[in-house]
């Protein structure tokens, strides 16, 4: 146990961000660039999080998320590392009896970005990037902006600091004082747990097997989401003739896929992927991530705000985990900057409530939506199959519905924070 009087105070400012993941980095950069005194703490050196072994996942970046990466100065470091998504094809994986190899079946939903931005170089539906490139770009932007980063430093606990401040005690014996602590420390957030904020949610008994593959033919910027009886199977385009796969199976099957030897995995991959892009072969290790839905009962506490997976973790079915984290970051950054401009206490409940109100609506809609989608599509009952086939075809025939879905996936619906409109914040 550390006592505050023994602590070596290494920072005293407006906001301390606990956790240097994508959401934490994005938020601290936005606040730092707006002119607030902010620092970031992480248990690992920022560089180690950028190694390929650390996180193999690729994320879909909604175009609103991309705007935010541009605004905080990270997008410019991602040249050649991002792939534009020009089309999204949503396909019922079993339109006929049996898996149909070789590409999309009959009942499909086609989103074409030319419907919302017709120019050749218009804003695409989103971007695909491997998380580590996004992380490297954000870390570079943080360095360029001279943002204070304390890493590696492990957080011990949060307590009371000087008057009007919370104190973050570090295991090294050092301490940080700030009006507000933001927990960006992930799905198993310790700060959330220590604050006694409960979560609710459920596990699906499914896991996503994640890996990158190389293939013979170009993907032309098309993302495919096949809904299979065991769960969705997504092929998401990466730069070059490569794609990221999110292959959802019942947990036991997913574990088997992860542990399988290379020859057997190759066989399983070809059977599922088909040959519509020519030959296909793995281009990365395999990771598995359990699918689940977990939402915190509240997003704010005593001088505490939760952001990203600490606030809510959703299964990657819609590729929205990162985008939700970025939207949290954008909404909280705007809330904090407005409070700072008005001279308000950044950690006071009155200052934080707008953030919670703003984000809860979005979270409820998306969590319920993806939950519903997963139940609907991870189902092999013939009448549900027929219904969803009809549903996909109908939505595809109605331009307005398609456009709405695209804007929703792009994160452009609802009350959009300034950073997601590509606007800067300042004091």
């Amino acid at each position: 146990m550390l006592w505050s009087m023994d602590s070596d105070l290494i920072f005293d400012g407006d906001v301390v961000i606990a956790g240097g993941g994508l959401a934490g980095l994005t938020l601290s950069l936005a606040l730092h660039k707006a002119g607030l005194s902010v620092c970031l703490v992480d248990a690992l050196p920022l560089e180690s999080r950028t190694a390929p072994e650390f996180d193999g996942r690729a994320s879909a970046l909604a175009y609103t998320s991309w705007r935010m990466l541009e605004t905080v100065g990270a997008a410019q470091h991602m040249d050649g590392k991002v792939q534009r998504i020009e089309d999204i094809l949503i396909v019922d994986g079993r339109p006929y009896d049996g898996v149909k190899p070789g590409g999309p079946g009959r009942d499909q939903l086609h989103f074409d970005r030319r419907e919302i931005s017709p120019d050749d170089d218009g804003e695409p539906l989103g971007w695909m990037a491997e998380n580590r490139w996004t992380r490297i770009a954000l870390a570079k932007a943080a360095e360029e902006a001279d943002m204070p980063v304390f890493a590696p430093e492990r957080i011990s606990h949060m307590g009371e600091g000087k008057a009007g401040r919370a104190r973050l005690h570090l295991e090294s014996g050092k301490a940080i004082d700030a009006q507000l602590v933001v927990a960006c420390d992930g799905k198993f957030s310790r700060l959330r747990e220590q604050a006694g904020i409960r979560t609710m949610g459920r596990e699906y008994g499914q896991k996503g097997v994640v890996l990158n593959v190389a293939h013979e033919l170009p993907h032309e910027g098309v993302a495919y989401e096949y809904f299979m009886p065991a769960g969705p199977f997504a092929i998401l385009p990466l730069p070059g003739n490569r794609s990221s796969l999110v292959w959802t199976e019942k947990s036991a099957a997913a574990d088997a896929l992860k542990e399988m030897d290379d020859a057997h995995f190759q066989e399983a991959l070809e059977a599922r992927f088909g040959d519509f892009l020519g030959w296909v072969k793995p281009d990365s290790p395999r990771w598995t991530y359990p699918l689940g839905l977990q939402v915190s009962e509240t997003f704010i506490g005593e001088r505490l705000a939760l952001v990203g997976d600490a606030a809510r973790a959703i299964h990657p079915i819609a590729g929205q985990g990162f985008n939700l984290g970025v939207r949290d970051a954008a909404a909280l950054a705007e809330t904090i900057v407005e409070a700072k401009r008005a001279g308000l206490d950044l950690g006071a409940q009155a200052s934080l409530q707008p953030y919670e109100r703003w984000r809860k609506t979005d979270t409820a809609a998306l969590s319920l939506g993806t939950d519903f989608f997963n139940t609907l599509f991870s189902n092999d009952h013939s009448s549900i199959r027929l219904a969803r086939g009809v549903g996909l075809s109908v939505v595809d025939k109605i331009p307005f519905a398609r456009e709405f879905f695209m804007r929703t996936a792009g994160g452009a619906t609802g009350d959009l924070p300034a950073l997601l409109r590509g606007e800067r914040l300042s004091l």
Partner: protein, 254 residues
Amino acid sequence: MASAAAPEALSTPSIDPEEVAKFSAMAADWWDPDSKFAPLHKFNPARLTYIRDTLAAHLGRSGAEPLKGLKLLDIGCGGGLVSEPMARLGAEVTAVDAAEANIKTALVHAEECGLDIDYRHGTAEQLLDADGPEQFDVVLNLEVVEHVADPESFLRNCARMVKPGGMMIVGTINRTPRAFVTAIFGAEYVMGWLPRGTHQFDKLVKPGEVIAALEAEGLTPRSPVGVSYNPLKDRFFISGDAGVNYLMASAKAA
């Protein structure tokens, strides 16, 4: 908002150690956005941002502490909901309130927040008598003028405390039929935001009456702005509609 009888003389009350817990609890209530002070917390960001932006533009300042080094008076400070933000923006804040409980509450909370604010129990007129005119770069006169016996002489006395080149900002409720419907009937009887009887219609002050009083003291009032409510977002914003709540800045020639 205080309507307690003024003390005989201006003072900074001392708080007995056994009183601290009581006033700390009252302060917690003032600052709880879900307490009976909820409407003030909803209202506060809009008017604070207006005050900040208006003063920063008038003085050509920006950044995290645009009011750095300015002497600012907050009249009718209540629990300090405006005084504290002004101190955080860099101002040297003096604040008066006629209700001793408010001053004690504000003192305890400022201490808890590590803010140095000169809280005095008394009235603006007593401060004028004690310290003389032209003491402050900024005088904030928010939600008070509708509670005083003689608004004209009160406003003129407040104006005399502004230094040349300084500014006074008045915030109050307009005397219009619409103000009666929303600010009195709506806020007190329908929404229950304020205790019934908080405001009396015939005591409300029109912008023209404020302008006349301040011009008589050599101030130049600007057009009033409105503070309007957006029920969809459940928040207040600065608007062009001064028909209910309004804010008005007036500069004194340098």
